[in-house]
Symmetry: C2
Subunit: 339 residues, 2 copies
């Protein structure tokens, strides 16, 4: 049973382990600084399929199949799959995973979905709801761009604060304590934070208050300090959101600058790859987590990581109706078991 | 800790209780056969707001606030809220619940969302993840119609198999065992089923195989027979889907006709209210469950109910791209504690 610490944090006393993980990336992501760490990559962003939406579904299929394979497991060994994505009605997940025959729980946390699904999968195993559970999410630049912004053919200009939706997916298989090289020690699910930001080209700023709030909750609940961790990894605030999060926390006397990095800043060479404020999309944090981060945790190069998925809970309709952009952030504490 | 029975079913040994529940309904729903059972109803489907989407958010706010009030609780007494809806990026939930300050986990199960959120809330309490958790979902005829089908002003003809999206919401507060008049005994989360049906005006048929599969799994896992229950309540297959589900099960030697009812068939007078195959939408099963069903379980008029939420996991994009409509169904076993 998990132990509730403080108001918002669950400490996982059995600390489930990560049995397998995998990342799948598109062409631009493969060409970025993390290119060597992805399990699967594609030079054709349609993945040979007839639409970008179907291609995105394939990203999820491949991420789950690869993660299961690396864990030496099959679909029948898994009790639940927790999945979500950015597309309307989460169709990337449905169509990517429908043939697996695993009980399916669709999740929607916008770009926080990897942390939400991983947190839930961990709690499922911790509590005996599942023996093994899979978390997965994806995004695709082309399917997101045409759903949320403009037709690709339009070639609209992007503002300096805009982020680039990653074409990528990541998946984690969670199982019993003691298995795998990485364990999950704690989960803090976040509350919605909304400071009234309405600029859909500045999602990082909209999500930063939620990220700061969830980290603040976690540190208050546990009595930990940022220096207890090697890395506080947000995903995906980008350059603008990161600076804002650091500033918000600084006002509360919390300095995370030395150990704060962001999946949106890691996945691309910002200048050379012309991605403005950095990467974004559920698949960005999923693919960064499930490539370099979990590899470095497995090897012991990283010891303790707070992974904070951040989501902007808006739609084109809500923005067109003049609504602000509520943010949310979920935190998962990962620790290396490498000796 | 829950006990896994068979392959797919979790028996809740502590059997969490329902502390409060509430339903909110629109004008047409209030005029239907369950009108007297709704806690809150509206004669103006905009709820006095400027858009149907904002009105739908209000439905969720009111459902949660009323359920909490009936449980003599406040938002701060609740550890998690599990919520979802049909709108793109689940904005009804986000905007309806953002001011509550409760850790928020967005769920997407299409019209199965009430069973998914209630099942998860029950497991959260059973396992100690939460002391109390809230489940809520909604739908709105106008916001759904213009997102999925046609502009309202167009006044398009509806096919005989089409269902009418309910303007309604329902919410349940789940807490510790022994509290409340209704307990949750078991949960079976479903697998995606897709028999290749592509007619978006016949969702009931698309969801029926999933409903049959989940019920079949539950009966196999537990060794129970349909006659052990007062009611097997699907939501929302409508007239066509119900008949199909009964036929599928009949071929496996399972006869549920005597005790099978469907939220989509209960919420309207089908002929008089001109709703063709019946009601649908997350809010339909939520409002039926959280009105007459939980009242009759509370009073002991109903003893044992299998509530099976059914969802069609499609989007306009997937249908336009020629995809079939995958279905899903989640089951929650509810039992009266009335003496």
């Amino acid at each position: 049973m998990p132990t509730r610490i403080g108001k918002y944090t669950l400490q996982l006393d059995k600390a489930p382990g990560i049995l397998g993980f995998a990342s799948v990336a598109g062409k631009k992501e493969k060409e970025g600084p993390l290119g060597a760490f992805f399990d699967v990559s594609h030079t054709d962003n349609t993945l040979g399929d007839v639409s970008w939406e179907k291609a995105e579904s394939q990203l999820q299929t491949e991420a789950v199949q690869t993660a299961l394979k690396k864990a030496a497991l099959e679909g029948k060994d898994v009790d639940y799959i927790l999945a979500g994505d950015l597309l309307n009605q989460c169709i990337s997940s449905t169509f990517g995973l429908r043939s697996l025959g695993i009980p399916f729980l669709g999740q929607y946390g916008a770009c926080s979905t990897m942390a939400q699904t991983l947190g839930l999968a961990s709690l499922f195993v911790e509590t005996g709801i599942a023996r093994r559970a899979v978390a997965v999410t994806s995004s695709h630049f082309c399917s997101a761009e045409r759903q949320f912004r403009f037709p690709l053919e339009y070639g609209g200009q992007r503002t300096p604060t805009a982020q680039w939706t990653a074409t990528a997916a990541g998946s984690v298989v969670v199982g019993a304590h003691g298995r795998g090289e990485v364990k999950i020690n704690a989960v803090t699910f976040g509350r919605i934070a909304d400071l009234g930001i309405k600029d859909a080209n500045n999602m990082g700023a909209a999500m930063a208050p939620a990220a700061a709030q969830t980290l603040h909750d976690y540190l208050t609940d546990t009595g930990a300090s940022p220096s207890d961790y090697d890395l506080i990894l947000t995903g995906d605030l980008g350059a603008v959101g990161c600076e804002l999060m650091d500033e918000i926390l600084e006002k509360d006397g919390i300095d995370i600058r030395e150990i704060h990095n962001d999946c949106g800043l890691m996945i691309y060479e910002r200048q050379a790859q012309d991605v403005h404020a950095g990467g974004s999309g559920c698949g960005c944090s999923a693919a960064v987590l499930c490539s370099i981060i979990l590899r470095q945790l497995s090897s012991g190069e990283l010891k303790k990581v707070l992974f904070i998925g951040t989501g902007a809970l808006m739609s084109t309709t809500s923005s067109q109706q003049g609504e602000s952009i509520p943010g949310i952030a979920h935190l998962v504490f990962l620790e290396s078991q490498a000796k």
